[in-house]
Symmetry: none
Subunit: 139 residues, 4 copies
């Protein structure tokens, strides 16, 4: 969307079940082989009693909402704050949500509340994003 | 590492060339199919003159350093701030670095400066992390 | 094949171009993020003057010939020796070859010479395999 | 590590749960589509009563320990012997271990015992590796 199509209060979301394959591939791309994610035996003895997904995997779904839905394709990511509130387990279905908080039209910037919930509605990640949206001459 | 093995000023890093395969797989796991990352034709007309990697992919290498090196296995991620300063192009080699800023021994928490550089030493991502480290009774 | 269909001197092969994506995915599955494979900047300063594929990736193509062609589906891998003779670079096309050296019909075992060549015919991996083949009552 | 930092008796390890995603991706990269690994129906009727991981996948975790931990980054793989002793099933958590057996300082070579265990401590792969380590002028 262009800056003049966006208004405070607008929301968007993206949901996905976090599978074992997602965790394996995320580890494979990032190199983060923390046993909490990839070693079922060690993870069972750990603080969460089993394997959990990478926090940055859940956080990345925020990027997905921003890039795919609101503001959508062409969005340039400027900053993101993240609090990791609860673990996401393999098999959990998470929903990343964004809500427009503030428009800075002159600079084509948008500030958004961003968070990720699990299937029971608990926040697992919370934060804020600042993005720049395409100019009017762009798609 | 345990909290008593960590001191302000300690550093660690992780380097990786960001390939087309990484970008494709990161998109596949996260669902972020922003044309800036996956559509060479659209990206060429975009603000960066070609495809760039997901900002969250570069940011995730920070998680890799924290989980694999400093503080290392067992680390629990509490929060992360991220500023996306420059694009990472396919073929760039990035290095994620962390430096311990502050110890909060009573709560076993560590605050770290975290950033990612490209092969020419320019910062592409900057921010801070807060993590909790395993207790003395853990590995 | 069944043991009575195999004879000393029989050969089989499997060829594949080793791409950057193969190396990224092999690292992702195995956790072997040796900079020689994944960090173009570090690898350029290393002994091979650039990134090379994992030796075990090339060696795994031997397993592919054994399992897919000779003796083929149902083969049980008993042992493998491997000498890593030359680096395989990203973009090289390698051919894994096996040749039956000896039949041990009573135990349904087959000993094979196994090696991998690059596109110029140089051996990159050399070794021997011992496998067990399905009984006559099996497919 | 440099050759003068390594001594006989030193050990290192790497653990990972072998998931269905690992087996699928390993097959995809290597082309080893043995039904024992990828065809649940055929594998159930086979000698192991279900799908098993590729032997070379388990063996590759030895490469991971050598490259990532001992001797670590910069290690050059010279040879590896492998005996496949027991099947690894999808869901097993395996630990690859290496122990330095012998130093050949003049040639910067190290001989190591190498094996992989499952979560019950049974050896699934056994063998020996010969590697060359970086010179003192290298990292």
């Amino acid at each position: 969307m262009r800056i003049d199509q966006i208004a405070a209060g607008m929301t968007a979301e993206f949901s996905k079940t976090v599978t074992e394959a997602d965790v394996v591939m995320f580890a494979g791309v990032t190199g983060d082989f923390n046993p909490a994610h990839l070693d079922a035996v060690a993870a069972e003895k750990g603080p969460f009693g089993g394997r959990i997904a990478h926090g940055m995997l859940s956080a990345s779904f925020i990027s997905t909402v921003l890039a795919m839905r609101l503001p959508g394709p062409g969005t340039i990511y400027l900053s993101q704050s993240l609090k990791f509130l609860r673990p996401v387990r393999i098999g959990d279905t998470v929903t990343a949500r964004v809500e427009v908080l503030e428009m800075m039209a002159a600079k084509r910037r948008v500030r958004l509340a961003t968070w990720v919930e699990n299937q029971t509605g608990e926040k697992v990640v919370d934060g804020e994003a600042l993005v720049m949206v395409p100019g009017q001459d762009r798609q």
